[in-house]
Amino acid sequence: MTAMIWMEGIHKTYRLGEVDVSVLKGIDLTIEEGDYVAIMGASGSGKSTLMNIMGCLDRPSAGHYVLEGQNLTTLSNEGLAYVRNQRIGFVFQQFNLLSRSTALENVMLPMVYAGISRRQRQQRAAAALQRVGLGDRMGNRPSQLSGGQQQRVAIARALVNRPALVLADEPTGALDTQTSYEVMALLTELNDQGITVIIVTHEPDIAAQTHRIIHVQDGLLQGEARNHGRTSYPAD
């Protein structure tokens, strides 16, 4: 297996007024292609910042980040936008759908920035919504969908540009147990199809469904565990 993510000496320091706050203090991390990873940690541990750097939403203050063999440390903003668009899919805790657009339009959006023709956008977005089980809700706006359905629209949006990596930041944080399992089942399915999936969570039973659990504490990695033999859940 080749490395999907290779990080070395990642630091992140924010300046808050007069004080420098060090959030990440030297992270060395390698994640293999096709892996299924949970990043756990208390709030303020730096796990979300780590996720943002992995997702090219933020740049490290120091250190090297190589994604799929490409060194991103020196890449321009436009280059990072291209990587986010083509290689990465995001799933957020608060879904982050455009409230004035329909489910279909939301899923079409990444392809707008990829320069795909309108007809193809519609076809592929419809297929992605079918795949997450929302073929009959394409014309609904987010306000007309339940939380679980909204998160499934967000997952459809994340996978529609066929990314190599899906990053999910507390994907089940705003959902009840039953829909949490449904969403996890979808993410697991994506992983089964070869996509590298990384989930940030603080819920152990969610982390337990992944293959590898990484603990972050005070801006540093604090050990990790491998899950062999996945637990089976009712929704599976």
Partner: protein, 404 residues
């Protein structure tokens, strides 16, 4: 995409457009009405004779008080004859005196303008005869009491369509024989030539007004029809020089001209520049409305960027480049402004059309005004959109995603 965002905020978008709509409407309506009025006045004044110069006595002054043009008796019939014989570009020259007198035929009497003039009058003023003839050169030199009457005057005095040639009428108690009736000319401003009567200048001067100057018969005006319209300025120059020599006026000595020369062309020019100035003024005011409209758009776009910070964050997270965000917000600003521009053009044309039909002048809408209106609205959109669009594009995606 830009359109959809605007549509979901219809009221705000409409109010934002208002400044541009009003500005463009004013520009289109005013330039269109201005052009219509201008072409109308030009057409009207052409009818007055664009190839005619009017020479009038300069203003007499008693003490230092000017008494207005035409009040002095400094022009004579001799001046008119000198112009006719010495100014080469003068096609035909006609001098006149005019005054209002009582005219009586039998029981009927009326008060009307009597024009004392010479035999070239019909040629200079395009006067044609309905019956009889104009008075002759002999009748002029002999100061005979003959009169040519206008058709309306004939109708009033002798009855509608009555045979008038050979009849005798009294002007100021003096007997005149009617030798001809003029054709209908139609009213021209304050004067209606159809109500006038024409007598030989010599006769009028001697028998009706009696204001002979030392140097000959004083006249109130000389009409000069130039040989060609492009000779107006040459004629003006030559007449001025001739009259200065004849009246011993030396401008180098500080002398003032005692005559004035004007033409319908001058009048057209004056009116056109007045209308033009008015148009420029209103367009300038409309320009202020456009600037205010542009500021309104910029303001609303800035508000919109703040409101949609999260949306911008989402778009960036899924791969929108700064350039794409910039284009989107710029497109929204241009869409607002351009829509306002198109509405303004439509409204402006409608108002111009309405005004044209209400006030009866030709409806003219110039393509350059429409082009200017539409072009201007695009420019306003770009200028107003650039700052908000740049601030949207520069947003940090993480900060944007965290905002509520």
């Amino acid at each position: 995409m830009a359109i959809a965002a605007l549509w979901s905020n219809k009221l705000r978008t409409a109010l934002t457009m208002l400044g541009v709509i009003i500005g463009i409407t004013a520009v289109i309506a005013v330039t269109s009405v201005g052009q219509g009025v201008q072409s109308q006045t030009e057409a009207n004044l052409q009818g007055l004779g664009a190839d005619i110069l009017q020479v009038r006595p300069g203003s007499a002054s008693s003490g230092n008080v000017s008494q207005g043009s035409g009040s002095a008796t400094t022009l004579t019939w001799d001046d008119a004859q000198a112009i006719g014989s010495q100014v080469q570009v003068a096609g035909s020259v006609s001098a006149y005196l005019q005054q209002t007198f009582q005219v009586v035929y039998g029981q009927n009497n009326t008060s009307t303008t009597i024009l004392g003039t010479d035999t070239t009058y019909p040629m200079v003023n395009n006067l044609t005869m309905q019956s009889g003839r104009f008075f002759t050169a002999d009748e002029l030199t002999q100061a005979q009491s003959v009169v040519v009457i206008g058709p309306t005057l004939r109708d009033e005095l002798l009855g509608v369509g009555a045979e008038a040639v050979g009849e005798k009428i009294r002007i100021q108690g003096q007997r005149y024989s009617v030798v001809g009736v003029a054709n209908v000319k139609g009213s021209q401003g304050r004067q209606n030539p159809d109500e006038q009567a024409y007598v030989p200048l010599t006769n009028m001067s001697a028998r009706l007004v009696g204001n002979n100057a030392l140097s000959g018969i004083a006249v109130q005006g000389i009409s000069v029809k130039v040989s060609a319209q492009d000779q107006l300025e040459a004629a003006d120059f030559q007449i001025t020089n001739l009259l200065r020599v004849r009246h011993s006026i030396y401008p180098a000595r500080g002398d003032q001209d005692d005559f004035q020369i004007s033409s319908a062309a001058n009048l057209v020019e004056t009116l056109s520049s007045t209308v033009g100035l008015f148009t420029v003024m209103v367009v300038a005011i409309a320009g202020i409305s456009l600037v205010v409209g542009g500021i309104g758009i910029a303001n609303i776009m800035l508000v919109s960027v703040v409101e949609r910070t999260r949306e911008i964050g989402i778009r960036k997270a899924i791969g929108a480049t700064n350039q794409a965000i910039l284009s989107q917000f710029l497109a929204e600003a241009i869409a607002i402004s351009a829509a306002g521009g198109f509405l303004g053009v439509g409204l402006g044309v409608a108002i111009a059309r309405l005004a044209a039909s209400l006030f009866r002048f030709p409806f003219v809408v110039s393509l350059w005004a429409i082009g200017l209106g539409v072009g201007l609205s695009f420019v306003i959109g770009i200028v107003a959109g650039v700052i908000p669009a740049r601030s949207a594009a520069k947003l940090d995606p993480i900060v944007a995603l965290r905002s509520d």
